[in-house]
């Protein structure tokens, strides 16, 4: 009897991990930086797969505690059964927000691009306001943005406009200006951060690629959508994602896509197709590389220009949580160790605590600093010229919490190429 009944099931092994794949091993709770830092958070195991078994579409979402999930994804990285813990939490949180509405603050933070565009257009004023204690107090009261959290500095000249004016690449054809003749063309997904806050990083990315004989094109693009995802606005994230997927799928075949922000890259590679179910996203994801991953690939192919000037410096490397989700190891460390003079050590103390917009919020700021406290202590104890991290908000947090100078790994590589 048993044989016959079970025999009707397919014997193929399930590839996607459904909620039943969770064996309740508690691995996720063990590594969750939030659960480590506050006992009021019940942890990814309970809020993800265990609650998921009781969630149903017609019923109202139970959202208690979900907002404490910072979205670092270490739970998914850690799960031996590849359960999509984060996706359960995000979907439930989004459903709750659709039913009950979202706060003005979460709406604003989800619209990072809009906010940044405004900040960039009014750059001197916005920067003054972001550093003015009185303005910050008002922001805390009205918007719920913690007054102690340093906000990023906006720049008037965006990367997009800079590229149009300054790049010497012949945009989508011909050969690059570097010494090596290759056939590679890449499309740069620069993201909101490079566009509105750190144009210099984008300039360095372009310079390094061109130095390696690669043509850089900059397709028109939207926000990757991750601020919207973590602020329970999946419709908005999907809208952005659909637009990006459409534009990126329109790139000529053979053009690789690179991202210099860990989290933007992860959205393009993975979350568009999995969390947001965007048609055509898998084709995009398969073409996306983190900038350091891409340069390392060039190195392995013997195509990386190794004509480095020595950079005598002592550096620490902090691996962003979302980089772990890429599943590519730490290519930045491999890459920088090629440069003479560079002394590089990993500071392996887990999540920095900021998690994008999480640590900006008035009720999360203290928690975010507590999560990062181990990292801050280790950074201070080790001492260094700079702490490197591929993720922009990790860099903000390390500077704020440890008082250390922070930079993208690309900054060191650019110096080695003489583009410091």
């Amino acid at each position: 009897m048993i044989t016959e009944e079970i025999g009707t099931f397919s014997d193929t092994v399930e590839e996607a991990a459904p909620v039943e794949a969770c064996t309740k091993c508690t691995a996720c709770n063990t590594v969750c930086p939030v659960a480590r830092s506050t006992e009021i958070f019940r942890g990814p195991k309970f809020l993800g797969p265990e609650s998921e078994r009781y969630r149903s579409q017609p019923e109202a979402a139970v959202t208690a505690g979900l907002d404490l999930c910072s979205g670092c994804k270490l739970c998914e990285v850690t799960c031996p059964s590849q359960v999509t813990i984060q996706e359960y939490i995000r979907r439930a949180q989004n459903k709750g927000a659709e039913e009950k509405g979202r706060t003005l603050r979460d709406w604003v933070l989800g619209h990072t691009r809009l906010l940044s565009r405004f900040g960039s257009m009014t750059a001197p004023l916005a920067n003054f306001g972001n550093r003015n204690p009185l303005v910050r107090l008002v922001m805390e009261r009205v918007l719920g943005i913690h007054h102690k959290r340093p906000l990023p500095r906006y720049q008037w000249l965006t990367f997009e406009r800079w590229f149009k004016r300054n790049s010497l690449s012949p945009r989508g054809g011909g050969s690059g200006r570097g010494g090596l003749a290759t056939h590679r063309t890449v499309a740069y997904f620069y993201g909101c951060w490079v566009n509105y806050n750190e144009r210099r990083l984008g300039e360095q990315v372009v310079a390094i690629l061109e130095r390696n004989g690669i043509d850089v094109i900059v397709p028109k693009q939207q926000c990757c959508g991750i601020p919207a995802v973590v602020n329970a606005n999946m419709d908005l994230a999907r809208k952005y994602g659909v637009e990006n997927v459409r534009r990126l799928n329109g790139l000529p075949p053979g053009v690789d896509i690179i991202a210099s922000s860990t989290s933007c890259g992860l959205m393009l590679k993975h979350d568009y197709s999995h969390l947001l179910d965007i048609p055509g996203a898998e084709q995009v994801g398969a073409r996306v590389y983190d900038i350091c991953e891409y340069l390392w690939m060039l190195h392995e192919a013997g195509e990386l220009n190794l004509d480095f000037q020595p950079v005598t410096t002592r550096l620490l490397y902090h691996a962003p949580c979302h980089l772990k989700s890429h599943g590519i190891g730490y290519p930045a460390m491999r890459l920088l160790r090629l440069i003479p003079g560079v002394q590089l050590e990993e500071v392996d103390e887990g999540c920095c605590g900021i998690s994008g917009t999480f640590g900006v919020k008035v009720e999360k700021y203290d928690l975010s600093m507590k999560i990062g406290s181990r990292l801050f202590a280790a950074v201070k104890a080790a001492g260094s010229d700079a702490v490197l991290a591929d993720c922009e908000t990790c860099r903000m947090q390390v500077e704020h919490g440890a008082g250390a100078h922070s930079a993208h790994p690309i900054d060191i590589l650019a110096r080695a190429y003489g583009h410091g």
Binding site: I6, G7, V13, N29, V31, E39, K269, S325, G327, I328
Partner: protein, 422 residues
């Protein structure tokens, strides 16, 4: 990504293989999915606890026991790896533990006999200092101490079971419970939360004084669940024992295993600091074989499959939990070569109804050649440069014979040596 030798896995076999390669001047990369398999085990090194699945008397001398096992069963994975691999691998591990700052006890000459969380005696070969005072070859009476609200360790159950098999007379085994500051009944917590709290000195002192009030007589030893700190085990353990005023021993509990976490985290950091590249979060599968050699394996990275192109590969995964095996309803396959490793017409044949009996699924794994290469039905290697180590090897039950650690060491060491020569 290119690599010299890729080691896939995160348990003891993978760590020993990686260390062996690194000590020999090679350049291994360590790859694993999810949390280390050590988080799900006792994390003691059990070389041979029982000579076979029907034995009732524990093995006293593991090295002699393994030699006998090899003589009796020339196909056993211990026989394939060889006694020398066990000896050399054990020496390597003991030296590594010392270098990484651990304080462990034991040798291949004698097993310790330690009480489990349910009060059964379990033979182990190498154990942390914090467990050793529980050795049942000693006679001091035992007090099991549980904590209110922590349900993964029930001291009354451990005491009643142990007094039946070990009792040294009236009152030689008993149970107490104390409450913990900050852990009331409404709070959900695991061994990990407790271990974090035990890192706090004031917390520890308060718990020690509550325990002291419960034990009035001298000469007892105290068994507590293994929650005495997540990282600095020996310091916390010895200071806690001094505060309690009795020898204290830790007892491994249900996963997540604090002992496994301590062991893995420190060995991982130690080997990483010495320059070994690690890629985690990426399940490995799909061996691409041509001309009898594995050219690449693939990682399921975000967005696409990431090829790992190494000269040789050590597959040191443990079981279905960490992706060494894929179990369908009837068939168990290996994810690298897609060989069928077991087929059960009736799926329940895979298990025994009694949870405490040896489980048939425990022996399912990769058949190997005499060089630990995965082999086909005819015993021919599937790839000349791939070697299997640890729990994924077919033909033995690491749980039933209490031999997971020793086999991990012996096969991890031997697989690494073979990989260097491949």
């Amino acid at each position: 990504m290119k690599a010299d030798i890729a080691v896939v896995g995160s348990g003891l076999a993978a760590l020993v293989a990686t260390r062996t390669l690194q000590q020999a001047g090679r350049n291994p990369v360590l790859i694993w999915p999810g949390l280390s398999s050590l988080y799900f085990t006792y994390a003691t090194v059990d070389v041979l606890g029982y000579s076979d699945l029907t034995a009732t008397q524990p093995v006293e001398q593991p090295e002699a026991g393994v030699a006998q096992l090899i003589a009796d069963h020339p196909d056993h994975p211990y026989a394939v790896a060889g006694l020398d691999a066990l000896r050399s691998g054990t020496t390597l591990l003991i030296e590594w533990l010392r270098a990484a700052g651990f304080s462990w006890q034991g040798s291949l000459a004698h097993n310790l006999l330690l009480p489990t969380a349910i009060g059964t005696p379990k033979p182990s070969c190498l154990v942390p200092d914090s467990m050793a005072p529980g050795d049942l070859r000693r006679d001091e009476p035992i007090v099991f101490c549980g904590f209110h609200g922590y349900e993964d360790f029930v001291p009354e159950l451990a005491a009643s079971n142990l007094s039946r098999s070990w009792g040294r007379g009236e009152g030689s085994v008993r149970a107490i419970r104390v409450s913990l500051p900050g852990f009331d009944a409404s709070r959900l917590f695991t061994s990990i939360d407790l271990a974090r709290s035990f890192e706090d000195k004031a917390f520890r002192q308060e718990v020690a004084s509550r325990i002291r009030r419960e034990i009035s007589v001298d000469g007892h030893r105290l068994g507590v669940p293994a929650v005495l700190g997540l990282t600095h085990d020996s310091d916390i353990h010895s200071s806690f024992a001094t505060q309690v005023g009795h020898p204290v021993f830790e007892i491994p509990t249900l996963p997540p295993s604090v002992l496994g976490l301590r062991l893995f985290d420190r060995l991982r950091k130690h080997i990483q600091e010495s320059g070994v590249e690690m890629i985690w979060a990426a399940p490995a599968h799909e061996a691409e074989v041509s001309d009898g050699r594995c050219r690449r394996i693939f990682l399921k990275s975000a967005g696409r499959e990431q090829p790992i192109d190494a000269r040789a590969y050590v597959l040191a995964l443990e079981d279905t939990v960490d992706g060494a095996l894929r179990a369908g309803v009837h068939t168990v396959v290996d994810p690298f070569f897609h060989q069928s490793l077991a087929h059960h017409a009736v799926p329940t044949e895979r298990t025994d109804e009694s949870l405490f009996k040896p489980q048939p699924f425990a022996s399912i794994g990769y058949p190997v050649t005499d060089r630990l290469q995965p082999s086909d039905d005819a015993g021919r290697p599937l790839a000349g440069n791939v070697f299997v180590a640890g729990g994924a090897i077919a033909g033995y039950d690491p749980v039933g014979t209490k031999s997971r650690g020793g086999l991990a060491i012996a096969t991890g060491y031997r697989a690494a040596k073979e990989a260097m020569a491949a």
